[in-house]
Symmetry: C2
Subunit: 222 residues, 2 copies
């Protein structure tokens, strides 16, 4: 089966930069390519947009197929379209960025598909295509959005402590924050709710667990 057009068409892919946080380090999810071009190299999860599929749906589907992740937060980032970014044919990539808590995730790993693996943001392997540039832009956007939206809470699991949130913000932005001011600020946004339960994991005072009042919502700040 072939498809014929009266003028040339580019291929279009969706590629996803998935961020998460573990052990106070920002991580991204990469897959190892098992086919040419760039066989064996690390790349962003992603793939070609189906002809009857929205780009958003494509991103969700490819992420599920290649990494096993589903139901996580996705946002369109930017479209990369220089003519020579893929050696095979003209490929335009609609890049997404995604945030997920690390807790309770299981990656497709060593399966028939590709290996998916978390990598420290500051210790990336060499990447296929222009995926390095895509990741740089995604990281810029992430740190920027942390300041003017509540998107950062997408890194949090269902229940979390205020110290968890502060440590997250410090990890992603790379700068320490005053404890009292941070807690005043995050609570003033009026998006968190005490659960009544507490988390005790060690020889110290247990911390109150919070949830998001409306988990789906992302508020713009200021």
């Amino acid at each position: 089966m072939t498809y014929t057009y009266t003028y040339p068409h580019p291929a279009v892919t969706a590629d996803i930069v998935v961020f998460s946080v573990e052990d106070d380090r920002l991580k991204i999810l990469l897959i190892r390519r098992k086919e040419d071009p760039f066989q064996g190299q690390w790349a962003l999860p992603g793939g070609f947009v189906g002809i009857d599929e929205s780009i958003d749906d494509c991103a969700l589907r490819e992420l599920e197929e290649e990494t096993g992740l589903s139901g996580i937060y996705l946002e369109q980032l930017y479209t990369f379209g220089t003519p020579d970014r893929d050696p095979r044919e003209r490929v335009i990539s609609v890049a997404y960025f995604a945030l997920t808590p690390m807790t309770g995730l299981t990656l497709k790993h060593g399966s028939d598909a590709m290996d998916a693996q978390w990598h420290d943001i500051d210790a990336q392997p060499e990447l296929a295509f222009d995926h390095g540039a895509i990741i740089r832009l995604a990281r810029e956007r992430l740190t920027a959005k942390l300041d003017y939206s509540t998107v950062g809470l997408k890194f949090m699991p269902a229940e979390f402590t205020l110290s968890d949130v502060q440590s997250l913000y410090e990890t992603v932005s790379g700068q320490a924050r005053d404890k009292r001011n941070f807690r005043k600020w995050i609570l003033s946004l009026d998006i968190l709710e005490e659960t009544g339960r507490k988390k005790s994991d060690g020889a110290h005072r247990p911390a109150m667990l919070y949830t998001l009042k409306t988990p789906a919502e992302i508020r713009m700040i200021k």
Copy 2:
């Protein structure tokens, strides 16, 4: 000549929302379609991405071809890709937004190409495709960026007064600003330079003319 692929490819267009300001009103540039689909209706300038052309270049070229504008400020906005947005075939649109001063522009008008015409943002005709939604998003982005970047100055001609700038900001954001605070603020950004010349256009005190220190630069604020 035809082009054949082993799996179906979407078409990709670049479409541009060009904003300008005239008589204290925000305007957008539309063209009247002379071909189906949506023949005779108004639409955004734009067209198909050449197979060896970057998307940015396509946006610049189409804008020039369809409206006569060149060398104006362009920024990628968002990529629209729901499967049914064009009745002919699957078309993915990479939307741009553009800002230009109105002074000294001449549009292609009634030529062999399409009619290009400025429309008040709040008095748009019915639009082809999903271009109405694209314009809404572009406007949101414009008002947002006005607050956290100096992109608004792309509306200004080579020389302008501080009152011109204030009136621009009031027009785009829709809210009045205190004169003294506005002037303190815009000067504190350290991006304007007195020319020494003054503009006198009426029976009142002439105003100092300013230029941008570095016209190409766009600063993020705060």
